[in-house]
């Protein structure tokens, strides 16, 4: 089973929910797909056991074979290749690694070489009951623009025999879609402010488009106004959990400690939430 945690607006508490949720249920695995700014490791503190670089294939021109015909530039929709009189320039930051240039080169002058875009790290966290939580995250290299290929690599580690919790990036564009597609359920974390509601509505549109069932967690539920509750009621969206604003929770979070480690009552709340999700009693 795959349950993703997303939000639209950033900073609403995705990582708080994803990590504490994963720590509260049995047989879980957490995959941090916010590869631009991964934070789950701060809370889980896994023992990292494996590190591997992630590459995308980019073209390399064999100048002895290239006759400057320009076919590669014609088939590259990303403008990652420029053909000059005696040279072909490769702008690898623009390349999506589709492979069309190499395939169509009549001179077979293009070889695809690996370009590192980030790393995937795999680790484990043992809990005090002898169980373990598997941990996987991706980390995009500084200066890299494209995160989806790295997110795809992280998701290759989804283990169908476990409960996979995906921590998604904020927003509604390609990295979010890449992270949450294929999920059986998505938890949307929001806060009851105008910004939170505006971005929740966008996130709901995404989930409706992807046809993924979802429910909402309202964080800092006593700040802001009542419009988020009204919206959820009107749209018949299941509110899975509400968490009030407390300086204690903010302080625990700021130190990188999962709330379930300090306030054990939340373990039960997360287990209850898990049962509600798996019972299939959602709209």
């Amino acid at each position: 089973m795959i349950i993703s945690v997303a939000s639209g607006k950033g900073g609403t508490g995705k990582t708080t929910i994803a990590t504490s949720f994963a720590l509260s249920i049995k047989n879980a695995q957490i995959l941090d797909c916010d590869v631009e700014e991964p934070n789950a490791h701060i809370f889980i503190k896994p023992e990292i056991q494996e590190k591997s670089p992630v590459f995308i294939p980019v073209p390399q021109i064999d100048k002895t074979k290239c006759d400057g015909c320009g076919k590669c530039r014609q088939v590259c929709v990303y403008n990652a290749l420029a053909v000059l009189k005696n040279d072909v320039l490769v702008f690898s930051d623009l390349c999506h690694g589709c492979g069309a240039c190499a395939y169509f080169c009549p001179q077979k002058a293009i070889k695809e070489v690996d370009k590192e875009i980030g790393i995937v790290e795999i680790g484990i966290k043992h809990d005090k009951y002898g169980g373990n939580l598997e941990f996987i995250h991706g980390k995009l290299n500084i200066g890299q623009a494209m995160s989806p290929p790295l997110i795809r690599e992280v998701k290759k580690h989804i283990n169908p025999t476990r409960i996979n919790i995906i921590d998604a990036p904020p927003g509604t564009s390609c990295p979010v879609i890449e992270s949450i597609k294929g999920s059986d359920f998505c938890i949307l974390v929001t806060e009851p402010t105008p910004f939170g509601l505006n971005d929740l509505i966008l996130a709901v549109e995404v989930l409706r488009k992807l046809k993924i069932p979802y429910g909402v967690v309202i964080n800092r539920s006593d700040l802001g106004d009542k419009k988020t509750d009204a919206y959820c009621e009107k749209e018949k969206i299941l509110v899975l959990m509400t968490i009030p604003f407390k300086k204690e929770i903010a302080s625990i979070y700021s130190q990188g400690i999962p709330i379930v480690e300090v306030i054990p009552k939340y373990i039960e709340d997360f287990q209850k939430m898990f049962r509600r999700i798996t019972d299939g009693k959602f709209s």
Partner: protein, 288 residues
């Protein structure tokens, strides 16, 4: 004319609240909301849309069933697993690379241009604003950011504006890179949490990578004074000036609920702090 962008790495640290206040405080300026996939600046600046344009960008493969002989080449070549087993296209996975379209021996694949969003030129109580709405689940947010910035710059040049105030997006990927390129200053807003420090450090590295001058503000600094100190030490080490610290203040949320910037809503502590941040930022950016 100077361009200032507010970014954060981590989401939800207060970028938009600060950008909106700068919009209220700066004289003779144009605003640009470059958080195109979860734009919120309009909620505080309540723009009146004057001009509206389609953002057409990228393409998606569409298979013509009548021409397709199901040879399977497209499925073999596609690296994004976007060709389903029945030779229809999973448009969410399609990267628009057009490899399949070029390769199809039957010419059965058409690449259709995407309507990827909309962008607007608006009037606000503080001056002109350029903003956008990326379509749900669309790509090319970096291109849309560049388009918003280009138009904000044209307007600024036309009216002889002194400032372009830009609201950035969270993260360090393509929209962020597009929003910081060539600005006079990137202001990183962070919060005193381990995540806030971790993410600010990464986005500071990005500004350094692209050689953009960077300064930092700590929001809600009083929620964890130890972490605030750690962030200050980190910035000192990296030679990033910390130009202000804002305390946690429920008035900021109350102002938001009333669709106002904090500097309009109250004359309290947060309002004063932001005014001082703006004065300092303005002075330092003008002195290069």
């Amino acid at each position: 004319m100077k361009q200032i962008v507010v970014i954060s790495g981590k989401g939800g640290t207060g970028k938009t609240v600060i950008t909106a206040s700068f919009a209220a405080l700066a004289k003779n300026k144009v605003m640009a909301d470059c958080d195109v996939d979860a734009a919120d600046l309009h909620l505080l600046l309540t723009p009146k849309i004057k001009e509206k344009y389609d953002f057409r960008s990228g393409v998606t493969a569409v298979v013509d069933k009548n021409k397709c002989i199901q040879c399977g080449l497209c499925r073999k070549l596609c690296r994004f697993s976007a060709v389903n087993s029945d030779f229809t296209i999973d448009s969410v996975s399609c990267e628009g690379c057009s490899f399949c379209g070029f390769a199809c021996p039957q010419n059965a694949i058409e690449m259709r241009e995407n309507l990827a969003g909309e962008w607007f030129i608006s009037a606000t109580r503080f001056g002109p604003m350029v903003h956008a709405k990326l379509g749900v689940a669309e790509e090319n947010s970096g291109k849309l950011v560049s388009l918003v910035r280009k138009n904000a710059k044209e307007i600024a040049e036309k009216i002889g504006a002194d400032w372009i105030v830009i609201d950035g997006s969270p993260g360090i990927g393509c929209p962020v890179i597009a929003s910081i390129s060539g600005v006079d200053c990137a202001l990183v807003v962070t919060e005193p949490t381990l995540s806030g420090l971790h993410d600010a450090a990464r986005v500071i590295d990005v500004t350094r990578h692209f050689k953009v001058p960077v300064k930092l503000v700590i929001n809600k600094y009083d929620l964890n004074l130890d972490m605030t100190e750690q962030i200050e030490l980190y910035c000192q080490e990296k030679e990033v000036p910390v130009i202000g610290k804002l305390g946690f203040d429920k008035a900021i949320i109350k102002a938001m609920v009333e669709n106002k910037t904090i500097v309009e809503y109250s004359q309290g502590k947060s309002s004063k702090t932001i005014k001082n941040i703006w004065l300092r930022l303005q002075k330092e950016v003008n002195n290069g």
